[in-house]
């Protein structure tokens, strides 16, 4: 299910003094199975762009093609893509509402019109996928810890078996261990479950290690579209956008500046160690 954004533009509060162009003429194609990192400063238009991609708000101009179909065409039933394009909003745990974890996760598949048995099966699979234990299934979602709540919320979207999963800053407000868990889960979804993933973040460290392709948004415009290794060649540009390089890359650059001839394109700690070892021995 490839997604194509075609000259997408979205304006908030058109013709008022507070008019903001949140998404400005973005065109991009997202292929099946890609793991994409969408990066931008706060207020750069990431969330708005995601909502446009998933058919939740109508663009001011331009459109989105999913599977070759124009989803904003007059006769297109937007309800038909619900569940196929799953979106996990920022702080998704704020949307939990049922009495038990299990019921909440059933909400999506039930809305898809599945029967009871299938609904429960999907909910069960999703909860297992995010690594929740059976004990919590019949607890109130409001009694869980922050990290658990977030997994329940993600399971609530996964239970619809989306082909494309969009996550808006899924690690916001989690501790480092929680971040790693969630990012690991998302990577698994892409590599093992073959989902197309769009992961939004304002931190390079979060995405650099995992994704195949990075899209950088600045001021509503698509500024950079490249692989992680290429992106960091745009160092000055990134700094101008208020984004910084991953800590590891920064460290490698200072090592190089101090006269040791290392390559500076390392992204993960392991790569960095390997490169340093290579130069030293």
């Amino acid at each position: 299910m490839p997604i194509i954004a075609d000259h997408l533009t979205f304006v908030y509060g058109a013709k008022t003094p507070l008019q903001t162009t949140a998404v400005d003429d973005i065109s991009v194609k997202i292929e099946d199975g890609q793991f994409i990192g969408l990066i931008g400063h706060t207020g750069s238009g990431k969330t708005t762009f995601l909502q446009l991609l998933s058919g939740l708000i109508k663009p001011s101009s331009g459109t989105v093609y999913i599977n070759g179909e124009d989803i904003y065409a007059k006769d297109f039933d937007l309800h038909s893509i619900r569940g196929k394009v799953g979106i996990v909003f920022q702080y998704p745990e704020h949307q939990l509402f049922e009495e038990t974890v299990f019921k909440d996760v059933c909400f999506g598949p039930k809305n898809m019109g599945l029967d009871q048995k299938e609904t429960e099966l999907k909910a069960y699979e999703a909860l297992k996928l995010v690594g929740l234990e059976d004990e919590v299934f019949y607890q109130s979602p409001f009694d869980l810890s922050g990290g658990q709540k977030r997994r329940v919320a993600i399971a609530g979207v996964l239970s619809m078996k989306p082909q494309v999963l969009i996550l808006d800053e899924p690690t916001a407000g989690l501790d480092p261990a929680g971040r790693k868990e969630i990012l690991g889960l998302i990577e698994k979804l892409c590599r093992e479950n073959k989902m197309t993933i769009i992961l939004v973040s304002h931190s390079m460290d979060d995405v650099a290690e995992y994704v195949d392709r990075i899209l950088v948004i600045n001021n509503g415009k698509l500024a950079i579209d490249a692989t992680p290794k290429e992106v960091f060649k745009h160092r000055e540009e990134l700094e101008e956008f208020g984004l910084s390089l991953p800590q590891v890359t920064k460290a490698m650059i200072s090592i190089k500046e101090s006269g040791i001839p290392v390559k500076t394109d390392a992204i993960t700690v392991d790569e960095a160690i390997e490169e340093i070892m290579r130069v030293l021995y």
Binding site: T16, P17, Q51, S54, L56, I57, H79, R82, G83, V85, G86, I87, F89, P92, H94, Q95, L96, F97, F107, G108, N111, M112, F142, G156, V157, M160
Partner: protein, 283 residues
């Protein structure tokens, strides 16, 4: 929801924006009363002129103001229809249970003018005054009621918090609706019972979020030493400037003119129009 201008602040630099909120509160109240005390055309002409001047001074675009009125159009049309058909008087046209009378048409026109002026005057006040200034004004105006043990400061504080939270909760509701829509929820069901049920996934999270915000806010206020109104000073205390005294003078002049016109107009009208002419419909 986004189209409701009533109750929203419009940022601009104007005399009306800078006026003391107390002047605007008293002015709006007197103006509204004046619309209901007398009901002849001269009073309305004067009232409309005053409003037009205020609008011009306020620098709020007319289009923006009228956009906010669309939401209330329905009530207005309803009132007009009701008045045309159900006011008793000499019937001009009659069918089934309806009868259109001269009085009916007169009442309908009157009500429409009245409501329009009323709504515009109220929205001018809220468009040009931030909620904070508004509650400051209310608090100060009602301060004397403290003597009868009314917790004026607390009420004002609650009002300003409530007003502050309206846009936040609207935004929150918008987010939740989108999130649940993405999970396949439908909020547009035709059947009433289904529609009510479909609201649960919206209302439960909204309430939880409101409570969470309320307790966070209470904690933050306490942590910063909030202890009620006694001995509390203001960052921007309300002080009358000369423009405020001038406004009060204009207001008094307006009331005097309206009262004068209201009392004498009956006689003027009698001179101007012979009874039963269609012109007399207007008066």
């Amino acid at each position: 929801m986004k189209d409701i201008t009533l109750g929203q602040y419009y940022q601009a630099e104007s005399v009306i924006h800078r006026l003391d909120p107390r002047v605007k509160l008293v002015g709006t109240l007197l103006y509204m009363i004046s619309l209901f005390v007398f009901n002849n055309i001269f009073c309305y002409i004067v009232a409309a002129i005053l409003l037009a001047v205020v609008i011009a001074l306020s620098k709020v675009p007319i289009g923006y103001m009228l956009k906010g009125m669309r939401a209330i159009m329905f009530i207005m049309i309803f009132t007009v229809i009701f008045n045309v058909f159900f006011t008793n008087g000499d019937n001009l046209v009659e069918f089934w249970i309806f009868h259109i009378s001269k009085e009916g048409i007169r009442m309908a026109i009157l009500m429409m003018v009245r409501l329009t002026l009323l709504i515009i005057s109220a929205s001018i006040m809220t468009l040009t005054t931030t909620p904070n200034r508004l509650t400051d004004g209310l608090e100060k105006l009602f301060r004397p009621l403290k003597l009868i043990k009314l917790p004026v400061h607390e009420i004002a504080m609650m009002m300003s918090i409530a007003l502050r939270f309206i846009p936040i909760l609207m935004e929150e509701a918008d987010k939740i609706v989108k999130a649940q829509t993405a999970r396949g929820a439908r909020f547009d069901s035709k059947k009433l019972t289904e529609r009510a049920k479909s609201l649960i996934p919206l209302i439960v999270p909204l309430f939880i979020s409101a409570f969470r915000r309320a307790s966070d806010l209470a904690l933050a206020m306490e942590a910063r030493g909030y202890h009620g109104g006694d001995g509390r000073t203001k960052l921007y205390p309300l002080k009358y400037a000369s423009r405020d005294y001038i406004s009060y003078a204009v207001l008094i002049l307006y009331v005097a003119i309206i009262v004068f016109l209201g009392i004498t107009s009956a006689r003027i009208i009698a001179h101007l129009t012979p009874a039963n002419s269609y012109l007399s419909l207007l008066f």
